[in-house]
Amino acid sequence: MMQMTMDELTVGQKGAVKAINAPKQLKRRLMDMGFTKGVGVEVVKLAPMGDPMEVSLRGYHLCLRKAEARAIELR
Amino acid sequence: MYTAIISNIIVALIILLLIGSAIRTLHRQSKEESCASCGTKKNSACKGCKFADSCH
C-alpha cells in the first residue's frame, strides 16, 4: 500500500499516526503535542486559503501547516 | 503684598512637588524594571529579583 501523510486527508477524514518523518526538533515538538504512534487524528477544517489545517487529536484542536502535516505518516 | 509672596511660594511649592514626585516615580520605575542589570552588580537587584531573592 502507498504511504499516506496527514496533509492528504480531506476535511472530516480520520487517520492514525504511523510515524513522524521530520528533523529532530520538529519531531519532538509534534510528539510533545501528542502525535505519537497509533493516535487518532481528524482534519476538522482548512484555513480560508487552504493552509494551514486544523486537526483534532486527544480531545483538543491544533493547527499546523501542510508542510508539517506532510511529516506525519498515517496508516 | 504679603498675599503675593505667599501665593508665589505656594505655586512654586506645587510645581516643585509635582516635579519631585515625577522624578521619584521615574527613578523608582527605572530601578524596578531594569532586571537585566541585576546580574552584574550586587545590591543593584530590582524589586522583582529582591522579592524572589533569585539574583544570580
Binding site: 503535542m33 | 516635579i19 522624578i23 524572589a52
Partner: protein, 653 residues
Amino acid sequence: MQTIALIGNPNCGKTTLFNTLTGTTAYVGNWPGVTVEKKEGLVNGHRILDLPGIYSLSPYSPEEKLSRRYILDEQPDLIIDVIDATNLERSLYLTTQLAELGRPLLLALNMEDLLEKEGIRIDARRLSQMTGCPVVQISASKGTGINALLEEIERSLEQKKLPMQPLFSNFIERYITTIIEDDYLHQIPKGRQMRWAAIKLLEADELFLSSMPAPPQAFQTYIEQARKELVEHYDDDVQAIIIDQRYKVAEHIAKDCQVRTKKAKQFNFDNLATSKFGAIPLFIAIMAAVFYLSIGLVGGYTTGWLESFFAFASVHIQTLADAMQVHPLLSGILVDGIIAGVGAVLTFVPQLFVLFLLLSILEDCGYMARIAFIMDRLMRSMGLSGKSIIPLVIGTGCSVPAIMSSRTIEHQKQRELTVIVTPFIPCGAKMPVFALMLTYFFPGKWFIAPLIYLLGILAVIITGLLARALDKHKETNAFILELPRYQIPAAKNVWLQTKDRTLGFIQKAGTIILLSSVIIYLLSSYSFTLQAVDAESSMLAILGRLISPLLAPLGFGFWQASVALLTGIAAKESIVSTLSVTIGTASLGSFFTPDTALSYMTFILLSSPCIAAISAMFKELGSKRKLLFAVLWQTGFAYVAALIIRSATLLLL
C-alpha cells in the same frame, strides 16, 4: 517562607488561578536575561511563582528551559500542576515529566465547571490514587474550589509527599533499573532524581550530559548498547520512545479516571470565525468595531468634555494667579507648561481605557489563535508567520507588550521581522496626535482615520515583501499552534490587564510628559542668556532649527514640529503636549496646512517608536546592529512615505 511554583499547559487557566490566589500581591517582571515574563505573588504567606505555560519539559524553547532549570535548581517546596480537566490526556503528559523532578506535586483540576458541557466526568479520587498526588477540583474563573485548594496547599507543604513515578514498559524499565544501580549515577548534581537522570542518560539529553563528568568506559558502552537495543526494539529514536511511553501512561490514567457522557450541542462560533469567506471580513469587522467603540464612540464624547474641563481649569487658574500677583514664570510653568501638556494627554484616557479593555477581551477569549490560523497563509507570503498577527493586533494598544508577544514565533527571522514591523501599527499613544490633527484640519472626514491604519498595514506589507525578496534561503519553519476552546474571559484577568495598561498611561502623563512639558516650556520662554524672550528667539527654537532643515522637504520645517518629534522619542503623547505648549492647539492652522498635517502624521506613524518600545525591540532582537538597522529602516521609511504622501496630496488638492 516556602516557595510554590505554578505550572501547566498554555490556556489551562493558570494565569486566572494565579490572579485569584495572589490578589493584589502580584508582581510582574522579567526573568534575568530572557524576555519571559516572571510573575510572583504571595498566598497565605508563601511565595508563589507563575512559570510560563508549556506543553513539555523537553528543553527546546526558552520557556521550557527556564521552567526546568527553575524547578531543578531552585527546588520549590511544592509544584502546583494546573490541569485543564477537559484536556486531561495532554495535560497529564506534562505531569508525567513533573513527577520525576523530586518535588511534591499537587494537581489542580481546573475548568471543573466546563466538564458537564463537554460531557466528561472525572473521578478525582482515582486520579489521586494513580498519580500519588493530591487532587483538587477547581474552577479558577468561577472561583470555586479555591478554599479546598488553599487547605491542600498547606497540607502538601507540611507532608512533603513525593508523587508516584510513571512506569514505562518492562523493556525500558530494565535498562533504567540497571543504570540507577551504577555508581556513576551518584555523581548527579544535587536535587536531581536518580530515575530522572537515568532517563535523561538514555535520551542523551544534551543539557543534562553537559552537567555530568565523563562516564567510565564500561558504563558508556552499556548506555550505548542500551540505546541501540531500544532503537531496534521500537524502531524509533530514544527520545521519541520516551515521549511515546509517557503518553501511554497519560492515556492509561485518563482512560481510567474519566467517563465520557454525551456532549451538549452548542452553537459553534468557530464555523463563522474560520469559514472560507466569512473569516477575514469578520476579523476586519471586529477590529473596526474595537476602534469605533473606543476612539469613535467613547473618545468622541469624552475627549471634548475633558478638553473643555482643562481649558476651563487653566483659564481660571491663570486669572487667579494674575490676581494674586504670581510671577509669570511660575504661573507659566503651571498653566502653559504642566496643565497644557499633561492635560492634552490625559484627555485620551477614557478612550484608551476602552481600547485596552476590548483588546484584553480579544486576547483572553481564544479568538487570537484563530486569527493566526486564518491569516497564516497571507502573512507567510510576506515573510511573516500567522502568529505575527497577534503582535500587530496588540500593537494597536501599545507596542511594548506587542513586541514582547512576538516571542511565540519560533522562526528567528520571522520573529525579528515581526519586531521591526510591529511599531508601524499605530499604538494608543500615537492616537492623540492623529486625533488632534484630524479634528483640526479634517473635521467630519471620518474616513481618514482608518486610512492611517491602512497606511501602517501597508508599511508592514512592503517591509515584509522586501525582506522576503531579499532572503536568499527562503527556509520554511514550523507553525504549530493550539486552538484553545473559546471562553468568556475571566473578568478579573481583563480588569487587571486593562487597569495596568491604563494606569501605565496615566503614570506616563504624570512623569515623562510632566517633566518634558516643564522643560519645553522653560526652553521655549528663555534665550540662552536666560532672558525671557519671545518663543521665536528661545533656546528651543534655536535647537529645533538645527534639525528642521532636514524635515523641510516634508513640509514641516519649522522648529516647533522638529522639537515635538524629538520629545516624541520619550513618549509619543509628548508630541501633542509639546505642540500645545509651543504652538497652542488652537493655532495649529498658522503652522500646518492640510498637506503638511498629513505628511507630519505619516512621519509620526512610521518613524521609530518611543524609547520604551525601542528598548523592548532591543531585548527581542538581541543585537545593537539589528536594532540600529530597525530604527533606521523605520525612520527612513517614514521619511520617504511622508514625502510621497505630501507630493500626492499637493497634486490632488
